[in-house]
């Protein structure tokens, strides 16, 4: 059990290498097998996980460059646990639903490598190891967009790569500086997150470090105005690329905020709450409007992703247990929902080779099962109660309500805007007269597609009705994060502010 985290990280990579030996016609089955094994492994991890404990568990350290304080250091807590499970689950589902025919073997091997980097990001506790997986994840995604994408794929893939690359390089300077500060304070180098959490930093230092880390995370999320790479990446990526990008890769950014920015720089986090909230609000409102104007179904969902990520950021910077916990739940639910939506668009795209809304209309009567599933997922996306989307959105907004009622109100518009653009799109695509004669012959979902989509729909409903098992362990770990922030706050005002936002009495 000691090595389960390392197994989780490196199993997909080893499997990918072995995958080179598998014949082209059976590679999809192989990919699904590996992803399913990986999913089961992550469930085993959940089983062995002590949900009453907020600290890191299953930690495991191997010295790599000890003179410079770089170690292979992994661990899991309630926050990363579910993100890992979501990662393995969505990878499996996206492989099941995979309909790509071109060069399938390379695609599946690439996806398995990508899975390694994603799981690695969520489990790494050493900043440099985290950075390694973080950067490494760019390569498979670059390849997926560039080799299997649409017409503008080369432009889109390079834009995606360079944006995120530059952002994370600036983050790297921050990491190196933090390592140096640790050296000055203690006399040894360390890049371990747990060591860093012991440091209490003066505010001006936190200020610059926060900005450095922000550059890395904000581009990845993507926050307004760093979001311009995302619509291109989504628009050009093949279905499976969009699914993984929206469901998992974007979550790396918000995860970074929770894992690094909040506990390391509590004063700066409080200081930047309002500016970041404003950026998030612009993302929520502006991209929702942009989403409404889109003519391409995939772009609607891409922009809606940016909008929802804004809500997650808002939840995180509420800096209280409800907000952060809700944001993490929303990360998981958005992963499932946006993944499902991109897969659904992929389904019709495979049949008609168009993603334009105007080419459809009235297909609810031709594809009833498809329309039903689409409707359920769509409800979750707009955050209807009793669906998975509601829980996180509600908690995030509730958390931020304690910071600012006005801003929360504006953010609440996301639900209305979401309903507007999503339902409009749904109406145009599924109801009314059938615009295109050919669409009369569209086939409804086949067994493969159903087997990929039904688990998603089931989760959307089950976790929407009963989110407690997940929320409970998330909250335990979030409590720990808030606790660290409280202890590490350099200025008394910050401590008071954090206690206030968490409604803890006796703050003053």
């Amino acid at each position: 059990m000691e090595y389960i985290l390392s197994i989780l990280i490196f199993f997909p990579a080893v499997a990918a290498l072995i995958g080179f030996l598998v014949k082209q016609n059976s590679i999809k089955a192989y990919g699904i097998c590996v992803a399913a094994m990986q999913f089961v492994l992550s469930l085993v991890l959940w089983l062995k996980f002590d949900i009453t404990e907020g600290q890191m568990q299953f930690t495991h350290i191997i010295p790599l460059i000890s003179s410079y304080g770089i170690n292979y250091n992994v661990g899991v807590d309630g926050i990363s646990l579910f993100l890992v499970i979501m990662t393995t689950f969505m990878t499996m589902i996206s492989l099941i639903g995979l309909s790509e025919k071109r060069d399938l073997k390379n695609l599946i091997i690439t996806i398995l490598f990508l899975e390694m980097t994603m799981v690695g990001v969520f489990l790494a506790l050493d900043a440099i190891i985290f950075y390694t997986f973080w950067e490494l994840s760019l390569i498979p995604m670059l390849y997926i967009i560039g080799a299997w994408g649409g017409k503008l794929r080369i432009y889109a893939s390079i834009k995606f790569f360079l944006y995120t690359f530059l952002g994370s390089l600036i983050m790297l300077v921050g990491m190196l500086y933090l390592g140096y500060i640790y050296y000055i304070t203690t006399g040894t180098y360390s890049f371990s997150l747990e060591d860093w959490n012991m440091l209490i930093l003066p505010f001006d230092m936190q200020f610059w470090l926060f900005i450095a880390f922000f550059c890395g995370f904000a581009v990845k999320v993507p926050m307004f105005p760093f979001h311009t790479w995302l619509p291109y990446a989504h628009g050009q990526a093949p279905t499976i690329g969009s699914v993984i990008l929206a469901a998992i890769l974007l979550k790396m950014g918000t995860y970074g905020f929770v894992r690094f920015s909040l506990p390391l720089f509590p004063d700066a986090s409080v200081y930047f709450t309002i500016p970041i909230a404003i950026l998030a609000l612009i993302a929520i409102v502006y991209t929702a409007m942009v989403a409404y104007a889109q003519e391409d179904m995939k772009q609607v969902i891409a922009y809606s992703s940016v909008s929802h990520m804004g809500v997650i950021i808002l939840g995180i910077f509420a800096l209280n247990v409800e907000g952060i916990g809700g944001a993490i739940f929303l990360m998981i639910s958005h992963g499932i929902v946006s993944g499902a939506l991109f897969m659904l668009v992929g389904v019709v795209y495979d049949r008609t080779h168009t993603k334009m809304i105007k080419d459809y209309g009235g297909i609810a009567s031709v594809m009833p099962k498809y329309a039903t599933i689409f409707a359920i997922v769509l409800m979750a996306s707009i955050g209807l109660p009793l669906t998975i989307g509601f829980v996180g959105e509600f908690l995030s907004l509730l958390g931020f309500f304690k910071v600012s009622a006005t801003l929360t109100f504006i953010a609440g518009l996301t639900i209305i805007f979401g309903a507007v653009y999503m339902l409009t799109m749904y109406k145009k695509v599924f109801f009314g007269p059938i615009k295109n004669e050919k669409n009369n012959e569209l086939k409804d979902l086949n067994k493969t597609e159903l087997s990929a989509l039904i688990p998603l729909v089931a989760l959307v409903v089950i976790l929407g009705v009963y989110p407690k098992p997940i929320l409970k362990s998330i909250e335990t770990s979030v409590n720990h994060v808030v606790e660290v922030m409280k202890i590490k706050a350099f200025e008394d005002n910050t401590r008071v502010e954090i206690l206030d936002r968490n409604s803890i009495e006796g703050a003053r």
Binding site: L64, I65, T132, L136, I154, I158, L166, V173, Y180
Partner: protein
Amino acid sequence: MNSISPIAIEFASLNFPTIVPMIIAILGALVILIIDLINKNLDKSLYVMIAVLFLIIDLGVIIGFTSDVRGFFDLLLVDGISILSQGIIVLASIFFVLTAMGKLRFQEYRYPEYFALYLFMVAGFQFMVSSDSLILILVGLETASMALYTMIAMHNRLNALEAAIKYFTMGVLSTAFFAFGSLIFYAVTGTVEFGKISEVLVASNYENYPLILLGVVFILGALGFKLSLVPYHTWVADVYEGSTASLAGFLSIVPKMAAFVVALRFFEIFIASSDPFVEIILYITVVLTITIPNIVALLQNDIKRMLAYSSISNAGFAMTAILIGSTQATEGLFLYWMMFLITNLGAFSLIWINRNKTSSDFSSTSDNAMDKYSGLIKKEPFFALLMGLFLFSLAGIPPFALFWGKLYLIGSAVNAGYLMLALIMILNSAIAGYYYLKPIVFMFFKEATEQRDDILLNSTTPIKVVIGVCTVLVIFSIFLIEPLLEIISYYVQISGY
């Protein structure tokens, strides 16, 4: 100014063991020439292997040194830096001479003189790095350079001659600069040894400061040519393009290692006393050297030219270590250069085996156009994957080799308070990311433009072994860093940098 004391030579101060490594290399060259005198019809593989054998013995002797020794009438200084850089130079030379084992019969490799020159050149560089006397440095520099000019010219193509002439004229200019710079320092301080120059300068409290600065400028110019620092970098791309890929790879690594060591020893005098003018000159040079070639590289359509500009930028990167001047930075310089060695060796070897002797005509300037690499993933997936790997390593994507070098150098910049410099390095890494992606886009995303079945035309087992070794080292470099750093820091610290 002191009057010059007469030079007294004692034979005991020869300290013969200090020159043994160079003598082995020279001996190897002579053996090759003698064998050629006896029998003219021997294959190049013999000469390659003889060169390798002598270099291995050379390396063995170098490793045998453990501490500072002076010798050769006090002109030689075999300290930690010298041992380390000699080790890198000889090791790199072993690998690069193996790339001469290509399948295609290029004319220069048919002459045994080529390999003799190669060994003379190595000996020259070894002299250059193990001396703190300006005169012996100049001798070493000239020995090595003369050999290099000839080797480039031996590649029987029009642009090879152009490259050789270009390299020669620039080289001569740089020699003149070096001689003049040395002259000034001799005039000011009455000595040509770095250690003594430093002492005299401090004792005289930098008397004649403008003259000293002039000397610095001349020496910087001279080293600038060898290190391809901006604005002395204009020859690089043309010379690389005119040489074979294997020699271009060599040029990007070994001569620069030698020049770095001289620069390290020379600028140490001024950085240690934190001379503001020298620092500013260096700072500007470094920043320009990192930035300008990076931007020019964006425009290149020939992969070899692109790598040429990228290696200028990388030299600028390594040069930051000399500017920073801390022990950690000096360690970073060597670590960076080792990582750069394995990455560039791999990349240039791959270009080398993709050499097509027939399709490009005699005077064609661009035989490594990016087009040539389009759609390679379909035809030679392994080749494309490896090329991608080396390019990602050059771009500094972890966990591949060059990332750790960059990490350590940027880390030392941050630690020494050069935050602005660190940010400039970072921004340039991002720019570099773009042009490293270009060949990747061609190889992985584009369809092949012409039918070519001879991508690996020039490949043979020895070259494949070299590439294989590089690949393994680049991928698993993370496990190398710790032991390498231990060795490097031991040697750097015993020589007091």
